[in-house]
């Protein structure tokens, strides 16, 4: 381009430069359109990502509902558990401050240093827990000196606590970490892995009432996860408190009476089915499930031959022994095999189906009517009745009185026991029923298996003259009374059928019968004793001939008062010996305490 540029023609390079700029201009335009895409079209996506980036939700644990007894005594409580953490980024001079901290927390400086060493991979602002499981009174002196120790952080969370330790442990149950299956199967309950949930007893049964709704603390954090500010706080909803029908004092007495003997005790109100006490011995301390067992402790607990975790009252299976005579008597009367006046002669032994069977009283009771047969627990009377009846009516009556099926008590794991029948034997053992077995069943031996609670419920039916109840613990939840479970089944026998049996039970306790150990002055206790052979009959007879003592399970079932009964007590003491001598007095103590309490209330 001449003229314009006086020195030289630069048109070629200028043209190339302009071309390059045009390319750059296009690139800028494309860049701008990409920014449009990201900022306008994909805005929502990135906005959400930015929000998720900076918001952290921390769980505020909801306290579990309390478990109270009928008099508002706290059986399961929550206590604050504190943990003290060290924020290392606030530690100015470790050498100077570590001895002070270890002194304050009561740990050695070595322990402190090893904890810090263990977590040295964590970012410095992340607190390192140096002591946890501290109680409120232990934290107070630390809290008081917080200002001197900016490097310490104290956090509290509610944990379950059973203030009476082993008291009513089997009723309350225990907590364990929720399993992944439980969480998966209950999506609506928003359970979290690592949380403790009810594993047994009432804690399990009413877990959904007791479990609260965890709250959340929404925090704004920076890129290092450090908390910058609290955004919102969603307060936790505590679980609902529940009231149990247990009477803590009666429960304590029951446990005390069982002592270190293995066994079970059930006390319930026959008019409602409310369980006043349920003890199983040996007990366990549910607090240990919270503070975690050491592995050896756990192995010991699980392998303990006395199985302390088992609730013998609902899971222990025993032959009912002579208690079963009540079933026999009721069935015999109802079906007309006997009348109250029917009399049988007891000579001390009886040959039935070619086998000689002994009464527990070798000298013989002489002529026995029904009432006396019950009072003296005469075997011969019931051998005779059993031979007359055959197995089928016995099985039916036992079932009607609640044996061989679950009572419906509101704690999990109940066993149903076994009432044998010809049909059952053919099905499971593939052998026909031998009439001789009926004779064993007639005195509550053989394959009969019952739980102490089943016998308590059966006793309640007798006390109620046939009216059935469902044993239960729950009286109220969340401040409202709970409805008692209702029963629709009609009484199996006529009211009057019960009276002569009850007369026998009354005399057993109050007229020098086998149950006289349970006698309480001023209270009409009616009861039946039982002593169950744990070894086979042949072996028992062999031992008897050798003059060796045969330890039997010791039973007592009774109720009081005779009219308008208000309390049923069932006692089982494993290898206790004679029911009258061992279980009877234990039941008597419970009746006595109960009546004193009733009297003092009025």
């Amino acid at each position: 381009m001449p003229g314009d540029k006086i020195y030289e023609d630069l048109s070629v390079v200028v043209r190339r430069a302009n071309a390059v700029f045009r390319v750059i201009a296009v690139l800028i335009l494309l860049t701008l359109s990409y920014y449009w895409k990201v900022q306008i079209l994909e805005h929502k996506k990135f906005w959400d990502m930015a929000e998720a980036n900076r918001i952290r939700s921390r769980v505020i644990s909801a306290p579990r509902g309390l478990i109270l007894d009928r008099n508002q005594t706290i059986l399961a409580d929550n206590k604050a558990s504190f943990k003290v953490s060290l924020v290392r980024e606030n530690v100015k001079n470790a050498a100077a401050v570590y001895p002070l901290i270890s002194g304050l927390l009561g740990i050695t400086e070595e322990e402190l240093r090893s904890r810090v060493e263990r977590f040295k991979g964590l970012p410095l602002f992340e607190p390192v827990v140096i002591k946890d499981g501290l109680a409120a009174e232990e934290i107070a002196p630390i809290e008081a000196r917080r200002l001197e120790f900016p490097e310490l952080e104290i956090e509290a969370e509610p944990i379950r606590s059973y203030p009476h330790k082993t008291r009513a442990a089997h009723v309350l149950g225990y907590l364990q970490e929720r399993s992944p299956e439980e969480i998966r199967d209950n999506p609506e309950r928003e359970l979290r892995l690592g949380d403790l949930g009810g594993r047994a007893g009432v804690e399990r049964q009413y877990d959904d009432l007791l479990t609260g709704q965890d709250g959340a603390l929404i925090e704004i954090v920076d890129s290092l996860g450090r908390k910058r500010e609290d955004r919102a706080r969603q307060m936790p909803t505590p679980g609902r408190d529940i009231v149990l029908s247990i009477d803590a004092e009666l429960q304590a007495r029951a446990e005390e009476l069982l002592g270190d003997r293995e066994g079970a005790l059930v006390a319930l109100d026959p008019s409602t089915g409310e369980i006043r006490a349920m003890a199983s011995s040996p007990p366990f301390d549910p607090n240990r499930f919270i503070t975690r067992f050491t592995p050896t402790e756990w192995v010991q607990l699980v392998n303990d031959p006395a199985s302390p975790l088992e609730n013998r009252a609902v899971r222990g299976l025993y032959a009912p022994g002579s208690i079963f005579k009540v079933v026999m008597a009721l069935a015999g009367l109802d079906l007309g095999f006997i009348t109250p006046e029917t009399s049988v002669y007891c000579s001390g032994s009886l040959v039935v189906y070619g086998t000689s069977r002994a009464c527990w009283f070798p000298q013989g009771h002489g002529f026995m009517n029904l009432t006396n047969a019950i009072k003296n627990s005469c075997n011969i009377y019931f051998y005779t009745l059993g031979r007359q009846m055959g197995i089928e009516p016995i099985t039916t009556a036992a079932g009607e009185l609640g044996l061989g099926r679950k009572t419906g008590v509101d704690i999990p794991g109940e066993k149903e026991g076994l009432v044998p029948s010809a049909e059952w034997k053919m099905k499971t053992l593939k052998t026909p029923w031998f009439p001789g077995e009926t004779i064993s069943v007639a005195i509550g031996q053989g394959q009969l298996q019952v739980t102490p609670l089943q016998l308590a419920v059966m006793t309640a039916m007798v006390a109620n003259r046939g009216r059935r109840v469902v044993p239960h613990f729950l009286m109220g939840a969340g401040g409202r009374p709970a409805a008692a479970p209702s029963v629709s089944e009609p009484p199996p026998f006529k009211r009057t059928t019960f009276e002569s049996v009850i007369e026998g039970m009354w005399r057993s306790v109050n007229d020098k019968g086998t149950g006289q150990g349970a006698r309480v002055e001023g209270l009409d206790v009616c009861g039946k004793t039982g002593s169950t052979q744990v070894v086979s009959r042949e072996r028992a007879e062999m031992l008897a001939r050798a003059g060796k003592p045969i330890k039997t399970h010791s039973w007592f079932c009774g109720f009081a008062p005779r009219t308008n009964p208000r309390l049923v007590v069932t006692v089982l003491i494993e290898f206790g010996g004679g029911g009258g001598a061992v279980a009877g007095p234990v039941a008597g103590e419970i009746f006595r305490m109960w009546s004193e309490k009733e009297r003092s209330r009025q």
């Binding site: 070629v12 700029f21 750059i24 800028i28 306008i40 990502m49 290092l224």
Partner: protein, 364 residues
């Protein structure tokens, strides 16, 4: 040395205004994104702006012809400094690219880019042919290659890339035959492959692979890209407001006040903000590139073109890098990002453009 009144009137005040606007916006955003840090980066940047303006005045004062003729000495000096810094410079952030002069740290590689502009202007101004011949191509490659290798050895990949961009721009302007272009492509393929295999450090390779899949490494190299993209995208149309960007204020964004400052703008002022800033850059670049026509001689054309390329390349790479379209190479946003050496070298480049433009009628 003295600038006379006539020349002063010829200074492109509009261009200076655009650059100053970007520079002051930069200080503003440096404050927004670093006010919570212990060092006061905004004030430091202001000091650097002062230094850069003085340097600009100095560059403008000398006729570019004079600077071009002295470029050989500048070249020798900068190569010596680059080589020396490789051996003696204090190690800073993993690179040997910083030189300390008392309180002031300088990156010699930044100055090398400006020196290269003058050297190439001198080299190509002599050559008036339509296309480059082999002889001068070879000479140019060796001239550019020595400082380039030294910069790459430091290692400062970002500056090396910018360096290559302006050199490549100069070649484009000088004219390349197809055969030469093909040869360049072949050589760069071989060098690229060899570099990947033997030259690139692991973190550099990672940055390249991360570009293809940022989620692969969300806490490492991909983290920066992901967080930057979240910042920009979450800004939406109007942004979250000044100093209200959660990504930048809560430090999710890396290098907020340096390489990623444009992400802060995108987050706090949204697409409107990014659009306006890009528009200002476009106007500035247009004014720079179109000044090429105002140059009175070939050396002037090369100076304006390469200086414009220097700014344009850094701008484009930076805005593409922070949104995940280019690997994280440590190229700052010219005039806006915090950083003294970068600001100084960009102002020197601006000075060169102004210098050429204001002397278009000057008679020597």
């Amino acid at each position: 040395m003295m600038v006379d009144r006539r020349l002063f009137q010829e200074i492109d005040w509009v261009l200076i205004g655009l650059v100053l606007a970007l520079t002051l916006l930069g200080v503003f955003f440096i404050y927004s994104s670093s006010h919570f840090l212990p060092k006061n980066y905004a004030v430091r940047q202001l000091i650097w702006v002062g230094i850069s303006l003085v340097a600009l005045f100095v560059v403008v004062s000398f006729d570019y012809k004079f600077l071009v003729s002295f470029s050989v000495y500048f070249y020798a000096l900068i190569v010596a400094v680059l080589a020396g810094s490789l051996f003696f410079a204090k190690l800073v952030v993993g690179t040997k690219s910083w030189l300390r002069f008392g309180l002031v740290q300088l990156q010699p590689s930044e100055l090398a880019k400006v020196v290269m502009i003058l050297v190439f202007a001198r080299l190509f101004a002599e050559y008036k042919g339509r296309y480059l011949n082999a002889q001068i191509t070879g000479l140019a490659l060796v001239t550019a290659g020595v400082p380039l290798v030294l910069i790459m050895l430091q290692p400062d990949l970002g500056t090396a890339l910018t360096f290559m961009a302006i050199v490549g721009g100069a070649f484009l302007l000088a004219g390349l035959k197809r055969k030469t272009i093909a040869l360049f492509l072949l050589v760069s393929l071989v060098v690229g492959f060899g570099g990947w295999q033997f030259g690139l450090k692991d973190y550099q390779k990672k940055r390249l692979t991360t570009l293809l899949n940022p989620r692969e490494d969300p806490r490492g190299a991909g983290y920066q890209i992901t967080q930057s993209k979240i910042a920009i995208g979450s800004g939406g149309l109007t942004g979250k407001g000044f100093m209200k960007g959660t990504q930048s204020q809560l430090r999710f964004l890396p290098a907020r006040h340096t390489d990623f400052i444009f992400s802060v703008i995108g987050e706090e002022f949204g697409f409107l903000g990014t659009f306006l800033i890009i528009l200002v850059y476009f106007l500035m670049l247009a004014r720079m590139f179109l000044s090429v026509a105002k140059a009175r001689d070939r050396a002037g054309v090369y100076i304006i073109f390469m200086a414009s390329m220097l700014i344009a390349f850094q701008f484009l790479i930076n805005v593409l890098m922070i949104i995940g379209l280019f690997p994280v190479t440590g190229i700052p946003l010219p005039f806006l990002s915090y950083g003294g050496s970068s600001l100084l070298s960009n102002y020197l480049a601006l000075g060169l453009i102004l210098n050429v433009k204001m002397r278009r009628f000057a008679n020597v």
